[in-house]
Amino acid sequence: MTIEEKIELLAETMDIEESELQADTALADLDCWDSMTKLSVIVMFDDEFGKKITSTDIKEFVTVNDILNKME
């Protein structure tokens, strides 16, 4: 999956414009980074990458890039 495809998928998952997702964007600065969005990210990893990530993994995500790196 190319970086553009990952950003597209993540933007769809988070219900946010792609332009708001820069690699170095801090997740805490995004209004949408609430419990529902975190959950959507968990489900997206399961559906698209067959990866079970947990609430602990979510807490370790600081920037958008941290999520993108795990998307494989």
Partner: protein
């Protein structure tokens, strides 16, 4: 000594007996004298549980309840090998935590297959002539989620509400055949499903808030199994069509 909840020689089918409340119910019913027929997907777990059962004459079957179409045949096989049933407990179930936008029909169906369609299909199959003994008692493990809504729990809550509604209808339909049908509705209980809920809650604050309302704390599987054993016994002969809440105070607080 008099034992109110006597299950001596009752043959009880328990789905989801490989872990959690299903396994606990199998152990308790075996202590009360029942012969247990267990069904689930993980054979190694079923073997482990079988070793912890009291008495003899228990059996296990490896079966994936997602194959709803094959259930009728599966039940025929069980009845021909084990004899007619006196009880059925549906403990098989999967949790599902999904925002609406990720709740595609295939996901909804996967949850309904295991939690609900298989429940009805097993009841349909075991209530045929010669498959059950008079006094058959059916208990589904529903959840308080059938009565309470929460974001992302649409599939799970709907599957449990469907079970609750079904027992009200089937209780009336089947009482002529001396069959009772009920659900139990636990709140949070300490099992693998609870662990999964913690892992997926996205924000562990949600879990803390829920636990503060469940003021008696986290339930243990035995808290639910005790009620199931009672419902399976003849002591509960006047109870049918009910959804019995076991929630450590949660719904009333």
């Amino acid at each position: 000594m008099f034992n109110m909840v006597d299950l001596t020689d009752k043959k009880i089918l328990i789905t989801g007996a490989s872990s959690g409340m299903g396994a606990e119910t199998a152990r308790l019913c075996s202590k009360l004298g029942a012969k247990i027929v267990m069904a689930a997907r993980r054979e190694e777990k079923l073997i482990e549980v079988e070793k912890t059962l009291e008495g003899s004459g228990h059996k296990y079957y490896v079966f994936d309840l997602s194959n709803v179409e094959q259930i009728e045949h599966f039940i025929k096989q069980i009845v021909s090998e084990c004899g007619a049933l006196d009880g059925f407990v549906h403990s098989a179930g999967i949790g599902s935590t999904r925002p609406l936008k990720l709740l595609k029909p295939n996901v909804l169906k996967a949850v309904m297959d295991v939690n609900y369609f298989s429940f009805v299909e097993i009841i349909r199959s075991i209530t045929k002539r010669n498959c059950y003994n008079s006094g058959l008692s059916i208990v589904g493990i529903s959840s308080i989620a059938s009565q309470q809504g929460n974001q992302t729990k649409t599939a799970y809550s709907a599957s449990k509400a469907a079970m609750d509604a079904t027992v009200r209808c089937l209780a009336k339909e089947l009482h002529r055949n001396k069959i009772r049908v009920n659900t139990v509705n636990p709140a949070l209980i300490n099992t693998d499903i609870y662990q999964e809920f913690l892992d997926n809650s996205g924000d562990s604050e949600d879990a803390k808030i829920i636990m503060s309302r469940q003021y008696m704390g986290l339930g243990e599987p035995i808290d639910v199994s005790n009620m199931i054993a009672y419902l399976l016994s003849d002591a509960a002969k006047f109870i049918t069509g009910s959804n019995i809440v076991l929630d450590g105070g949660r719904l009333s607080s």
